[in-house]
């Protein structure tokens, strides 16, 4: 059974409280048209719902974008709030989730094992459901698109060790609050989250010969240090050496998790809960030479790490690397170099203010050029979510969609490698993808989603595709069995690109 979301559920919020704090968004004339409204929704949301193109056009594309750049001022959809309220695991802290997991895994009885399994399944379901529901229903669409982007950029994997209890918490606490703030804070939040510390092994990174290492087989682990530079900040061509990787690994020693009981005053003992902690006994206190800077061994240890993160966040290579990635996601697989350069300049001038970088991109003529419209092949997640949005349908049972995403190669939180999912056409457009997407379109268009019935209205779906369809789409529609027309729309080339 599926429910149709009512348009009354606050699709567009007209008033906004912080208009005076941010300068208005200045767009070229082409952006202020109906097609401009559609392009904005294709890129800055997970795809238009029926009626949205008209609404955004009416209120002014620039005003809608200004709102989206200030998500906290947009009231959230009541339907989404209701859906999220039904997922109690969502708001629990990383420590609480870890403690429950640790307690359950100790019980080796059959009963204990099945309780443990049930907990893990419910947790995985809740997290993926929330992720999907937000993409489908949130009024803060740009924030959700960016949450998806930055999660993928700072990817962690559900399947690695304890990360299955933390991925949802990581998204909610380390990613979403920071996607339109300063990059330095986003970097810090990911660096301190147990999901990242566990995923890239830094919780075990220990100075050889340090107090904690004595008598144990412990020492340096350079996994996080390398990916922190290669993927998270500078980029592989960012001008660092193997020496810099090793030095950064030394700097990062001790940056980890609370894995041992801690004694407090009055005989109080804090049990290990795998929350973030700096362990001074694991740290390397020697001087380091990192990216040309001398980092003095500090008596406290952790300030070196803050210093290294600041160096990385403020580095011109980081500005360039991440401007490129944003432009590749939002503008074109091969983004215009001049645009990337201007975004990187804004990055440096604004000290990594991600909202300012987004604004430079959105206000650019390149963003609105006809050749950059409808040129981004949707990833499986974008394809599935945009299809449901075009039908204004939200699933009561998300499992068939999870299965579909798995088959299409993009399960939620399911990519093992730290580079995340690819965001370009060459990764996703292939024969098997065509067969599966068209089969999914056929199921939806003929009223099926898993065992549920669903109703996709042809005219509504058509209204999200703009004024003109491609000639081959028109031709195929004219020749088709009327029962397949909605399926054809959802499977059309017009719909495969955003």
């Amino acid at each position: 059974m599926l429910k149709n979301l009512t348009l009354a559920a606050g699709v567009i919020f007209f008033g906004f409280a912080h208009a005076e704090t941010a300068p208005p968004v200045m767009l070229p004339p082409a952006a202020m048209t109906m097609e401009g409204a559609r392009h904005a929704l294709e890129r800055l949301s997970f795809g238009p719902r029926p009626g949205e193109i008209e609404q955004v056009h009416e209120m002014g594309v620039n005003r809608w974008i200004a709102q989206q750049l200030d998500p906290n001022a947009i009231p959230e959809s009541p339907a989404l709030q209701t859906a999220l309220a039904a997922l109690p695991n969502l708001t629990r802290s990383d420590a609480e989730l870890y403690r429950q997991e640790a307690r359950l895994r100790q019980d080796k009885s059959d009963e204990g094992k099945s309780e443990h399994q049930a907990f893990n399944k419910a947790l995985a379901d809740d997290m993926a459901t929330a992720h999907l529901d937000r993409a489908l229903m949130s009024n803060r669409q740009l924030q959700e698109v960016l949450t998806n982007f930055w999660f993928n950029h700072f990817n962690v994997f559900l399947g690695k060790g304890f990360d299955h209890v933390w991925v949802g918490n990581y998204e909610n606490e380390a990613i979403r609050p920071y996607v339109l703030g300063r990059f330095r804070y986003l970097l810090e939040a990911t660096a301190r989250h147990p999901a990242m510390l566990f995923y890239l092994d830094n919780w075990q990174n220990t100075a050889p010969g340090s107090r904690a290492a004595r008598g144990r087989e412990e020492g340096l682990n350079e996994n996080y240090a390398r990916e922190l530079m290669e993927l998270h900040t500078l980029g592989v061509d960012g001008g660092y050496s193997q020496q810099d990787v090793t030095e950064l690994a030394r700097i990062l020693t001790g940056w980890g998790l609370r894995t041992r009981p801690e004694r407090g005053p009055y005989g109080f003992v804090r049990q290990p809960d795998f929350t973030f902690a700096f362990d001074p006994n694991r740290h390397d206190y020697g001087d380091k030479r990192f990216l040309g800077y001398t980092i003095k061994g500090d008596s406290k240890g952790w300030p070196e790490i803050e210093q290294a993160l600041s160096i990385l966040a403020a580095h011109p290579a980081t500005a360039k690397h991440l401007s490129f990635q944003l432009a590749q996601y939002f503008v074109a697989d091969n983004p215009p170099p001049a645009l990337v350069e201007r975004m990187a300049k804004t990055w440096m001038q604004s000290q990594g203010d991600l909202a300012a970088v987004m604004r430079t991109m959105i206000e650019s003529p390149e963003f609105w050029r006809p050749e950059n419209e409808g040129n981004k092949y949707k990833t499986p997640f974008e394809y599935v979510v945009s299809a449901l949005r075009a039908g204004n349908v939200a699933p009561t049972d998300p499992h068939p969609l999870f299965g579909e995403l798995r088959q299409l190669g993009q399960p939620i939180y399911g990519i093992e490698t730290p580079d995340g999912y690819k965001q370009v056409e060459s990764a996703w457009l292939n024969p098997d993808a065509m067969a599966r997407r068209l089969s999914f379109a056929t199921a939806l268009g003929t009223g099926h989603l898993g065992k549920d019935s669903v109703f996709f209205d042809e005219a509504s779906v058509r209204s999200t595709l703009g004024e003109k369809l491609l000639p081959q789409t028109d031709k195929a529609l004219a020749a088709a069995d009327p029962r397949l027309r909605t399926a054809l729309l959802l499977g059309s080339p017009d719909f495969m690109y955003r």
């Binding site: 050889p208 024969p431 599966r436 089969s439 399926a487």
Partner: protein, 415 residues
């Protein structure tokens, strides 16, 4: 789904005549000794020093206090290969192929590029131009262009929902799902649905090409899967009422079966992840052993299901780089350089660890930490593949532009 249900579905889906591309015709062709190639890519950098371990080097034991494998003959020890190297005990299912000479290795093989980035190193091994990321085609796709026609959509088969870089390029390539889902009919297999979308995707654009390739490949594949295997014993084993198991052994068996049925499949590719063992790698037991076991079982399944076609098949197992010679602080290994390449097949000059072993002494290591590369992967693959597929002189240069693959490359397969 069980085989019977699949047969029903497949026959319902494909009432169309197969014509020239019918599998019956192809099955007859399979006697022709058509040479084929399978590439298995271990993403994440497998620890080659644990796959083919140099137990004859004292430096090996000095560098790896907790993760080194014991010499052959000891409890949980290596499987003896040649007196210096031993095979990881989890790869026991492959020992028969070593003994009959169809499994060989090239130690200290790798890329001339120094990168320790997984993603760059994989890119270079797939596009075949180390140091040059901009090459958008993969060397397997360039290889397809050098093969004699006709170039059918099923000439190359990739497993998994994403098309890997190694197969990217103008030559048509089909991909199919991993696991039993590969055999499951989809809505698009229904003639009415297929025809409706064929109207939409009848052009020459990328999507239309992908659509046509997918339609043809799905027909062929489902016919291949539905066809009975020739060997009666094998058929009984295969039928047994159960679907193929999940994971690599199942996919490998599926691949072998399809290649045996369908000689139009000249090249196949599959990638396996989970080799990035920075922490608690283990030795005879543990994380790495747990990955190698299904790999060994799967390769063995691939060989058996290929049946007589194994004679004409070369299977290459490769990985983007090796791992540090010294274990790190967490019972794991970090990103390194040289690795081992595996060659398995009827034409392989096996039973031998090929290549020049640089040793593990401190002054022999690459950048004082890694196994040095003494065989360029382009030379190894270039010479093996061109000989195996009986390609004209100079074909290797087309696969790996810019590489100097001279007569000096080791001879690893019989022509």
């Amino acid at each position: 789904m069980n085989r019977r249900r699949f047969l029903l579905a497949a026959s319902a889906a494909f009432a169309l005549p197969f014509g020239r591309s019918g599998w019956l015709l192809r099955a007859a062709e399979s006697e022709s000794g058509q040479r084929r190639l399978v590439v298995i890519f271990l993403r994440g950098a497998v620890d080659g020093l644990s796959v083919v371990a140099p137990y004859g080097d004292d430096d090996y034991y000095a560098a790896r206090r907790s993760i080194a494998l014991r010499p052959p003959g000891r409890e949980d020890g290596l499987l003896a290969l040649d007196g210096h190297f031993g095979l990881h005990p989890a790869l026991q299912p492959l020992m028969g192929y070593w003994q009959n000479g169809s499994l060989g290795f090239v130690q200290a093989c790798g890329s001339p590029d120094p990168t320790r980035s997984h993603f760059d190193a994989q890119l270079y091994m797939e596009n075949g131009t180390p140091g040059r990321g901009a090459t958008s085609e993969g060397w397997l796709n360039r290889l397809l262009a050098t093969l004699p026609g006709p170039h059918e959509p099923t000439q190359a088969l990739s497993f998994g929902p994403q098309m890997p870089r190694i197969l990217a390029g103008p030559q048509p390539v089909a991909n199919i799902a991993l696991g039993p889902a590969a055999e499951k009919p989809l809505a698009i297999d229904r003639p009415g649905v297929n025809e409706a979308f064929a109207q939409l995707y009848g052009g020459d654009d990328k999507m239309s090409q992908a659509f046509k390739q997918s339609s043809q490949a799905r027909q062929q594949m489902q016919a291949d899967m539905a066809a009975p295997v020739m060997d009666e014993k094998e058929q009984m084993a295969a039928n047994n009422g159960a679907p193929l198991p999940d994971g690599f052994p199942g996919d490998a068996a599926r691949l072998g079966h399809m290649m045996r049925q369908d000689p139009s499949i000249r090249v196949a590719f599959m990638a396996l992840g989970g080799w990035d063992t920075h922490v608690s790698q283990g030795n005879a037991q543990g994380q790495l052993a747990g990955r190698l076991k299904p790999l060994g079982e799967g390769l063995s399944k691939l060989v058996t299901s290929l049946g007589p076609a194994f004679r004409d098949t070369l299977i290459i197992v490769m990985s983007e780089f090796g791992r540090t010679v010294h274990e790190n602080g967490n019972g794991g290994t970090d990103h390194g350089h040289g690795n081992v390449m595996w060659l398995l097949g009827g034409t392989v000059m096996g039973g031998k660890v090929h290549g020049t072993w640089p040793g593990l002494a401190a002054d022999r290591l690459y950048q004082q930490r890694d196994l040095a590369v003494t065989s360029d992967f382009r030379g190894v693959i270039g010479s093996a593949v061109t000989r195996h597929l009986r390609l004209p002189e100079g074909a290797a240069a087309a696969l790996f532009p810019g590489a100097s693959i001279g007569g000096g490359a080791p001879v690893l397969v019989r022509a």
